[in-house]
Amino acid sequence: MKAKEVLGDDPEIVLADKRYDLVSNILATSLVKGAKKWTITDMLDKVFIHKFLGIPVFIALFWAMFRFAYDASAPFMEIIGFFFESLAEASAGIPNEVLASLIGDGIFGGLGFILTFIPPIFFLFFGIAILEDSGYLARAAFIMDRIMFKLGLHGRSFIPMLLGFGCNIPAMMATRSIEGEKDRLITLLVNPFISCGARLPVYILIAGAFFGSMATTAIWSMYFLGIVVAILLALLLRKTLLKGEPAPFIMELPLYKAPTFYGSVIHMWERGVQFLKKAGTYLLAGAIMLWFLSTFPWGAEVELSYTGQIGQALAPLFAPLGFDWRIVASLVFALLAKEIAVEALGIIYAVEGETAIAGALVASYNPVIGFTLMAFTLLYIPCVATIGTMKKESGSWKWTIFQLVLTLVVAYVVGLVITGIGTALGYA
């Protein structure tokens, strides 16, 4: 006897129905539901999943969370920065010149700068943990799903995308809960377009240098750009390489409950620690490598250091975007970790401190190039740690390399568009 005759075309559903029947039968004898009490969850959901208010409330809550993450962490970033600056200065006293430079400029200077970004990333993860533990995040995913479905994305992609604003590494690891290989792959592929915390120092530097009072708006536009590109690419991939319907989104809305401080801290830590691991390994290695390539041949001018040589070799490729060898060299280093771009620019211009670097940038480039650079940093090849994560999560070199190429191409194209529009508008 053939299975198809008995079970039809959707055997899974037939069997699932039988199981649900059995569940009902068993519960009929063992469960009595009292009069339906109107719970707080019901009250809250009336507004959180309201037809018209649902999305504005969503926007308000996430805006509040981002404000908290970036503004409340600011003084703590200064504290960490100050700590490492002092260490860097102190190590100037080390007798061996090379060692002093390695420890002072390379490690404390380079790595220390990167570690100043721990507060915003951790604060962001804390905020997400609170929204998650309270039960609201499930509603947010539910609301987003309606929209995401139309964009060919799965509702479950929402949380990984959200985490991407902190760091792409835990974000990509969070895709494991997405059913459907294609949905998961698309989410993995476009995740790096979401502007992670590491890119912020680059934006702050460039926007601060070129855009004055509009700097904040310029930075916001990068976040917005990242989201738009991620969505468009996801749509494109859905329609071309990874065709198909997203898997059905079934998600349970848990009861609301007050999140505990301790519980949220634990969740924050679980995700934040991924960033720290990256810092401890890739960023440290990157900082040392950058130091090496820029400081040697010892005593040489920056143009003649290894860094300079690499930059000059690749510069012609980027001429249409207005990038010179200095920018290209720093972009190469930013592959190790995007935060490093700032440090790299400082070394290349042989200046120290953000104000000085900003000054050097304004003297050498126009605002169009500045904005193009911001967008390029946002979109191009993700940092090595992220690439490693992509390989691990996707399990395939093919897709990892595809992502490298995709991000580079998208960055270049968008860069050209911005350069074109900017020049046409007369800002060059």
Binding site: D42, L44, K46, V47, V57, W63, A74, T216
Partner: protein, 157 residues
């Protein structure tokens, strides 16, 4: 399932007032902050100062958020006036949102305080009054009323 219509009307009026206040200050924040957003430095109305306190900070997005909170409060008014229990959901969520924004602004104020104490560059001219914004004092103003609305009148069935 409802509650006493007189009670409902009281709550409805209260929600209406709070909602309108949030909406008004939201609009004000947008108007004051408009200049910064489009880079001209010229706001549609000048910043308001009261006793030296920057009463309405320039903040277009912050203003939008206040309007959203106001909208939540206002949506509940009709059902509250009719004595329908569901109307209370809006008061609950409105108050929750107001509390969350209060909390966030307060934490930011405290963080800025930390920056000031350490005498970091960006905070040398900061005073706490700079951060005393509508998101903070509107919530405090609304607090007694909200507390009464939820405890005095029996709404749990």
């Amino acid at each position: 399932m409802g509650f006493n219509k007189n009670v409902g009307t009281e709550i409805a009026v209260y929600s209406f007032v709070i909602g309108i206040l949030y909406a008004i200050f939201g609009i004000l924040e947008i108007l004051v902050g408009w200049g910064d957003l489009i880079g001209t430095g010229v706001s549609l109305i000048p910043p308001l100062e009261l006793v030296g306190v920057n009463v309405v900070p320039p903040d277009v997005f912050g203003g939008i958020m206040l309007i959203i909170i106001g909208a939540v409060y206002l949506t509940g008014v009709k059902q509250q006036a009719k004595g329908e229990r569901e109307g209370l959901s809006f008061l609950l969520v409105g108050s929750l949102l107001a509390a969350i924004f209060f909390g966030v602004y307060l934490v930011i104020m405290l963080a800025n305080g930390v920056g000031y104490v350490f005498q970091f560059e960006d905070w040398l001219e900061w005073i706490w009054l700079d951060d005393l914004r509508p998101g903070i004092w509107l919530f405090l103003m609304a607090l007694p009323g909200t507390y009464l609305a939820f405890t005095k009148k029996k709404w749990r069935e």
